[in-house]
Symmetry: C2
Subunit: 404 residues, 2 copies
Amino acid sequence: MPTTPHSLPRRRLLTGSASALAAAGLASFHQGALAQAAAPAAKPLPGYAGWKKADAVIVHSSTTIETKRSAFGTSVITPTDQLYVRNNLPSPPESIVADRDAWEVQIEGVKQPRRISVRELKTLGLETVTMVLQCSGNGRGFFPSKPSGTPWTVGAAGCVVWSGVPVRDVVKALGGVADGMKYMTGTGGEVLPPGIDPKSVIVERSVPAEALQDALLAWEMNGEPIPLAHGGPLRLIVPGYTGVNNIKYIKQLAFTAQESDAKIMSHGYRISPPGSKGDPSQPSVQEMSVKSWINSPLPEDGPQAAGVVQIHGVAFGGMHAVKGVEVSIDGGKTWKAARLVGPDMGKYAWRQFVLQAQLPKGTHVLASRATDMQGNVQPETRGENQSGYNNTSWADHAVTVTVA
Amino acid sequence: MPTTPHSLPRRRLLTGSASALAAAGLASFHQGALAQAAAPAAKPLPGYAGWKKADAVIVHSSTTIETKRSAFGTSVITPTDQLYVRNNLPSPPESIVADRDAWEVQIEGVKQPRRISVRELKTLGLETVTMVLQCSGNGRGFFPSKPSGTPWTVGAAGCVVWSGVPVRDVVKALGGVADGMKYMTGTGGEVLPPGIDPKSVIVERSVPAEALQDALLAWEMNGEPIPLAHGGPLRLIVPGYTGVNNIKYIKQLAFTAQESDAKIMSHGYRISPPGSKGDPSQPSVQEMSVKSWINSPLPEDGPQAAGVVQIHGVAFGGMHAVKGVEVSIDGGKTWKAARLVGPDMGKYAWRQFVLQAQLPKGTHVLASRATDMQGNVQPETRGENQSGYNNTSWADHAVTVTVA
């Protein structure tokens, strides 16, 4: 595949991210996030993801790989070889995708619980859903508090076409959900490290049982069998929910009366007040909310020629379709309606937006602000929390470009 | 990327294609097409397309690579690494994609003709269009007359997201189309072999000038810069028109009073009566028409278990959206309405269809028949022509499967 048009150092990309711009009218950089993100030199791709397009991604670690902001393009779909990776545990061995149809998932909390193979799942139903897959911590790199965890900016997200059997068809085939079950709990098939309490590391997440209506047990993404790095042979897809709720290598799907007591559910991925630890009393990171960002122009494009520019980016509503996007070229003082372009792939997909603007010589702070069909407007500021989750701040996602 | 689940010999795939099924109720194989297609052993991928997924394609020659029928999946979009290749001339050197923005195209037949770089094109407009790209000869392998040319079955087609500037925006920026121009003529940037009349080999095609309304000058496909193998850095995209009209490495886009006199236009790609040669009096191969085919189950899946099966495939209308698809499990004697699934990516994209069916023990001939929004119905029989173009016959595209 061809190399991406721009491959300037990552540092230049990050210096374009700014926050609290509306007040200042100019960028004030987050030195904290910058220091974190600019430190390591380019790392090699880990073996299980060695087929990723090295030019299009930032390798943070063997289990955390981010899409470069400049690589998103304008084709709606994020190619699999550019899509981010965030694994809570190392991937299982490649052997689990040797015979994909033989993979089995235990279905519990239904009237007739049993194991079902992918081969059989393929006879039960078929649906294709386009969905934004986004890590709960996407945008963490913009928090001045330097939360622990990967300092993702925008690239722990992508728009992916998933194909598989609707969970509702599976449930129907097994007699329906058992009485009293309030949650849909998925358990991942990762190999657990020996010698420690499984509950402390197992990837097991609960979402409200109603989420089954749009959920899939998926075996295909973007036209190919799901790669191991992305959860193949079988992944639970819960449209509108952050990445961690979309269980990879799913080995059990259970309808349960209680939320899982696995640590990743009870204490992990909680919206904790700054300075506090996660606990079950705090809100869990689940549904995504309205968000957008600009992907071009970017600071790493270098100084722009004066004149007309097509400002473009992506916008999504999480649980609701995007109604519209506004773009500002003055750090949020004034806004203009952008045009939505390209195919509408459904309410869980992102839309592309474009605003044609005339940029005179000087420095410009470009921001985007999306509104969903429920009237929710992307906020100016992030919701502060200890772990840096759910950053939808338009100010944090603004970029500063220079016109020569 | 993971290997495709099935990689049985090509021969088994091809033996499932049948024609004139409705009358017989069973498959009568085209021995001609089979003999042609089964002859060569697997060939290696040519260098410029060495990044293609070898398991998902059939390499006919260095300039003709077909997607396996079993590789289409159910995610609407055809991944670039599985998309077919059909080049009329060898690809230009990789150096032309070293600086993509520097590529220039000469625009002629407008009020203010001039050269424009990709860099400047990116300031003029932006649109994203999803389109079925299909070789004029897709389905040629089903012609019993054994036309010369690649014996494609279904895999010289794919559904691709293209992104670039609308031709209408370029034309507007240059003062509009000059008076009296009836055609839009694109010229490819291939290196021509020395010592022969350029007109005899140059890739130059004319389409009606009205096609400019939906056409793009595209620099991106499926989220990445267009690979050299597919026409990067810049390709003319004429939605609804067969592959050859979508000029790769476009170096000139001209609005002209006459059709091009290049041989590929005047004598090539003509619907010639069997036994005759192409000439300018015959219809040119341009707009696609309504077509569909089944991608699963296929004979190479081996004998099916008795029971429920999800019969799925793709359908497109060419110039019009698909209204519906019917599926037959008895070789066309009776039909049932299939369900359209997944995102509708616009009238030039294909739709996925699914029919859940109960298949008893025995042999079954599965066929699909699409209808477009204009009421055009996919025909039972192919239109006979010398070169094997535009095969939309539902009987030719039927498959025979066995239930054990």
